[in-house]
């Protein structure tokens, strides 16, 4: 390490130690940059792939109000992916590159979205438990050390709280409906509870990157801490709904299998994303060609544009 590099490294460490943010043009260790890119990219991919399981029910939503709520929710997830890809772009990685890496399988997304959605109750359960678990993970990330990521998270968390509320409210309404609807809710919760707990990642002992990520302030709590907090928060909500939560025993072999792409819907999720990306290629090209041909619109002199 040269003297200049040592100096820069010390400056970086001091910024982190002071709880300050790292901004895009700051010097940063290569490992830090790579870790941020990996985490933000995976998060962005999760938002985009996460549109599919619920999106499949937009065309079957059973009331006009639910149709609008679900569409607005899934639309938010597109926005979340967009904010996060932008945060990655501040580190010089383009959305196009990231999308290609998602499609090729080089980068992962949250394995929760490889589970199928089998009934309309799943829309409620995903909002309540999956968005709920996401909030637990994400609220601390508003204070993550990488500035653009933290700022994206502030906006995302605000919207996630609506996602969780709409999910809970759907389930609560269904629980006031027919016996059949109550059974649908319980069945859905039975299927999603353990996968939701697995969203916090493997136990701390098996999470090799956690320590470094915490030292860098990218992560702020361990997987097990966050999981325990989620379980504690959810229990009274389940009681209020009148559903029983299955046990908290987790099958980590299944977890690793799903993470490695063995989930029931993994192939179809990627194929769906690839299809949209490929089908859109001619549109993106056409707009680029058009913009290249059009002269930039003349700027009116407006004095100071403030």
């Amino acid at each position: 390490m040269t003297a200049v590099e040592a100096d820069l490294a010390a400056g970086f460490a001091a910024t982190i130690a002071a709880g300050d943010r790292i901004e895009p043009r700051d010097w940063m260790p290569e490992g830090y940059r790579r870790t941020v890119v990996r985490q933000v990219a995976q998060h962005a991919h999760s938002e985009i792939i996460g549109m599919q399981p619920e999106g499949a029910w937009i065309t079957r939503a059973p009331s006009l109000r639910r149709k609008a709520i679900l569409l607005a929710k899934v639309q938010d997830e597109a926005g979340h992916g967009l904010y996060l890809y932008s945060a990655c772009e501040t580190l010089g990685v383009s959305r196009q590159d990231l999308t290609e890496q998602l499609i090729s399988g080089a980068q992962k997304y949250s394995s929760i979205f490889n589970y199928p959605t089998l009934s309309y109750a799943d829309v409620g359960t995903i909002g309540w438990l999956v968005d709920g678990a996401a909030i637990c993970n994400q609220v601390p990330l508003c204070r993550t050390s990488y500035g653009p990521y933290g700022r994206a998270m502030i906006r995302i968390c605000k919207e996630e709280s609506f996602h969780q509320r709409q999910g809970f409210e759907l389930l609560a309404t269904m629980m006031r409906g027919t016996d059949e609807q109550r059974a649908m809710v319980q069945e859905s919760v039975d299927r999603f509870w353990r996968p939701a707990l697995m969203m916090f990642g493997p136990p701390d002992a098996d999470s090799p990157n956690t320590q470094q990520s915490m030292e860098w302030g990218i992560k702020r709590h361990t997987n097990d801490e966050l999981r325990a907090r989620f379980i504690e928060m959810t229990a009274p909500q389940a009681a209020a709904l009148g559903v029983t939560l299955p046990g908290n025993d987790l099958d980590w072999d299944e977890f690793w299998r799903v993470v490695k792409g063995g989930g029931p819907c993994a192939t179809e999720r990627i194929a769906h994303r690839k299809q949209a990306h490929d089908d859109g290629a001619w549109v993106r090209e056409a707009a680029t060609a058009f913009a290249a041909r059009e002269p930039r619109e003349p700027q009116e002199p407006r004095g100071a544009a403030r």
């Binding site: 200049v4 100096d7 820069l8 400056g11 901004e23 895009p24 043009r25 700051d26 010097w27 790579r34 890119v37 990996r38 985490q39 995976q42 998060h43 999760s46 926005g79 967009l82 932008s86 772009e89 501040t90 010089g92 990685v93 383009s94 959305r95 196009q96 590159d97 890496q101 080089a106 980068q107 992962k108 997304y109 949250s110 394995s111 929760i112 678990a133 996401a134 993970n137 700022r151 994206a152 906006r155 990642g201 493997p202 999470s207 990157n209 993470v259 490695k260 490929d278 290629a281 993106r284 090209e285 707009a287 680029t288 058009f290 913009a291 059009e294 930039r296 619109e297 544009a305 403030r306």
Partner: protein, 95 residues
Amino acid sequence: MTRSEWPLYEVFVRSKRGLNHVHVGSLHAPDDALALRHARDVYTRRSEGVSIWVVRSDAITASSPDEKDPLFAPSGDKVYRHPTFYDIPDDVPHM
């Protein structure tokens, strides 16, 4: 398939009268006109009375935070640097 990625734009929003425009994020668009539409759709959900600026990221000149930084030797670099490819290892996803 040719690679055709739209340029990146930075979005600034004045959410109500009396406030400055604040940087709220970025997006991609083929040109200025669509960038403005996208900004309305994505960052304001079309609420009325807000004022939006969009500017191509590569049109912004930024100061270097640390003049000793060898990566940014000529000060007054562009904020948007050219894409570099990062090979990202498999890992546990965090949502």
